[in-house]
């Protein structure tokens, strides 16, 4: 249909990209269509020549590709993220991409789109995943900073989206101190700031502050992988925190050596997934990208036709 692919994992002629996370947005396609923010993020990550040609999709504006109607709608996942509605012969299919329903001060909120077939992600598609309000999690982080003023708090957060959201939430909670960031976050934080998302004073978490007490009481944000690395040695007796929906499961936190799990996710939890399926009014649901079987089971109980789409190449651990 229409001769294009959504979030292809291999280079193709025409790709429609929902958002800038690396497992969805890859370089090397001949033609790429995405929101302007997503295109800018891809250029930041892969260089200006990440695709042969690019075309900006304006949210809510219908376009035609090979006789097929295509419309991008906000997905509430990260800055620039979109769902893609595809229409042909009176049938509308919505590809959700990754999405969440919780408020996020760093991106536009998800809009439910009425459709016949809803292709939904299911990263947290189990009834055990219910994300608490992110503000409560940030309050727990700040409480811990007060409790342990002699230690640095290392907040593991994905470089695109989660990191900026955590920083913005800290500012909303009244935290005005400089926040130290890992080098991998610098470009994206700059980009968010340019887009008018005020992240407050950010400083590089450089080794120059090697008198370790320099980081006592500080909040440091970096990609989760960095904290298991030698990089983390510059901080005094750090409290390792991780902002992720996976942190709902205690064993996950234990396995990663996380001392302060923060349950903050850019994906929908179980209640958001099920509520969204109802809102779209879809008669048929395709479930992908996560724990398909539980959500398919739920659809069956609700009398909604559903099937799993087992796609390869996406990171199960997304978030």
């Amino acid at each position: 249909m229409g001769d294009f692919f959504v979030d292809p994992v291999r280079p193709v002629d025409r790709a429609l990209i929902t958002h800038g996370h690396a497992d969805h947005a890859r370089s090397g396609h001949a033609h790429v269509m995405a929101t302007d923010d997503t295109l800018a993020i891809m250029a930041l990550r892969y260089g200006e020549d990440f695709a042969g040609a690019t075309q900006t999709a304006v949210l809510g504006e219908r376009m035609e590709i090979g006789g097929v109607g295509v419309t991008f709608h906000p997905a509430g996942h990260v800055l620039g993220s979109a769902q893609i509605a595809v229409e042909q012969a009176g049938t509308r299919i919505v590809v959700s991409g990754d999405y969440k329903r919780q408020a996020d001060p760093t991106c536009l909120p998800f809009e439910p789109i009425a459709c016949d077939i809803f292709i939904t992600e299911a990263t947290f598609g189990l009834p055990v995943f219910r994300h608490p309000p992110a503000e409560e999690e940030v309050a727990r982080l700040l409480k811990s900073v007060r409790q342990f003023p002699e230690r640095a708090h290392l907040v593991g957060a994905y470089a695109l989206g989660k990191a900026q959201r955590m920083i913005r939430l800290l500012r909303d909670a009244g935290y005005e101190e400089p926040i130290y960031i890992h080098g991998a976050l610098a470009k994206l934080c700059d980009f968010y700031q340019q887009k008018g998302i005020d992240l407050g004073p950010l400083e590089p978490a450089t080794v120059d502050r090697a008198n370790k007490e320099g980081f006592a009481g500080a909040i440091v944000v970096g990609p989760p992988s960095a904290f298991a690395d030698r990089w983390a040695r510059r901080f005094p007796d750090p409290v390792s925190a991780f902002a992720s929906g996976w942190m709902r499961i205690r064993q996950r936190a234990k396995q990663r050596g996380v001392e302060l799990p923060l349950i903050v996710s850019d994906h929908s939890d179980w209640d958001e997934l099920t509520a969204t399926i109802h809102e779209t009014g879809a008669g048929e649901v395709w479930v992908t990208h996560g724990r398909e079987e539980a959500l398919v089971r739920w659809c069956e109980i609700e009398g909604i036709k559903a099937r799993p789409l087992h796609l390869v190449g996406y990171e199960d651990e997304g978030d």
Binding site: L126, P127, V128, F129, R130, P132, R140, S144, Q147, F148, F227, A228, D229, R230, W231, A232, R233, P236, D237, P238, S240, R248, I249, R250, Q251, A253, K254, Q255, R256, G257, V258, E259, L260, P261, R291, E293, A294, R297, W298, I301
Partner: protein, 533 residues
Amino acid sequence: MDAFAQLLDRLVLASARNAKLALMRDYFSVTRDPDRGLALAALTGDLSFSSVKPAMLRTLITERMDPVLFAYSYDYVGDLAETVSLAWQQREGSRPNDRDISLADAVERLSSASRSDGPRVLEDLLDRMEAPARFAIIKLVTGGLRVGVSTGLAKQALAEMGGVHVHEIEELWHGLTPPYGELFAWLEGTGEKPVSAARAMFRPVMLSTATDLAELANVDPSEYSAEWKWDGIRVQAVSESGTRRLYSRTGDDISGTFPDVLEAMDFDAALDGELLVGTPPDHTGSFSDLQQRLNRKSVSDKQLKAFPAFVRCYDLLQEADEDLRPLPFVERRKRLEAFIGALGSPRFDLSPLVPFGNWEELEGLRTAPPHPVIEGVMLKRHDSRYLPGRPRGPWFKWKRDPHTVDAVLMYAQRGHGKRSSFYSDYTFGVWTGDAGQPELVPVGKAYFGFTDEELKQIDKFVRDNTIDRYGPVRAVRAEPGHGLVIEVAFEGLARSTRHKSGVAMRFPRVSRLRWDKPPHEADRLETLQAMLD
């Protein structure tokens, strides 16, 4: 309830002692009575409910949730209490309107519930709470919080909160009951120190400091008595006006585990000694024999018969109404000898003094003790009063040198806190099987004994030689021709059915890194097996 749930969640993930202490201190300082006292009771294992059984949980959740979705969830999470707490679907209309239901409310409802209405009471509580509090409630009713806090650590947090010495808390502890209002009032300076009304109270134990020949060179041997240091567990047996208690050295009441000792406490006194198993004076069992009797809630007749417990006495702290602690050691010793002689019980015997002329002579006795259950000698100054804690000087312990074995590093795990980016917990093994094709079998784990500089070196070795990863654990190259040999020191060896190697080390630690030694020259399992008693 929220604050208590958060405390538990943080305690279970905090590995450093100081972090745990800070978390408890903070909680006790900002939480009101009686919640904090009930939390304390929960942490020390003094809170239990009989109206709810763990088996009910599964029934309760599948009454309100599709069993298939529950099965997927349980399968993913792996822990029943956690799965139920997370997947619990609040009943329509029972949105947590009183979300801040207090710990005291919850405890009150659960403890006043009968066996028949227990499940409904639990269900109602779960409906009114968020996931972390639901988890805390389920842990409370199913028993065993398992957050890595000992009673001793909880007492230490109380002591720090009130700026008092932990001995004062230990001494009072057994006269206090939840929710400990009086205790908190005293610690906060709003009330008098509680007067211990309990009979057979615990007396804080006197401990010794480690010494060696170099230090003793400056000490006059004629001022000290020596006695054997037995390898059991230090206990205090207190009997007063019919109340009998056996305490561990931190003041935990372990009476229930040793009915045989308790039965023999037909006296009015407080004795300090070593708990051992066997039939004195002919037979004294090993530490691994003693382990058959430790940490049990109930004890079978078979165990009582196979491993009878007794106390080998070191000191007499109280006799009838007289507190002997201010007396000099030699005086107390005379009283102890007379007391044990008159008692004539097979469950209480005397730890003999070891006569010696000079340190070199004692050194000879120490290195070749007459009994395998001796782990060194104790030195006690003749004039020493019985003081709580570990004063330096009046008492020394001079332990037998540890055993050592050369083992090969097999796995390394990342540490926590200051060590969170270092591979600092090591699993090591020794060779077994055919000499031509030997295999390593793990024999223990060690996570201290090295310097910061050595830690960096091992960490680098681990990162450069990783062959596999399992979460925070890395498997490292450990082959006859390539690997890291660690000299491991340990205090003793016991048979173990839980370990593949069949042996378990006591108190293993890294004693030296043998970068110079090729792995194939490390020890074999047979060497360890020969050390089993």
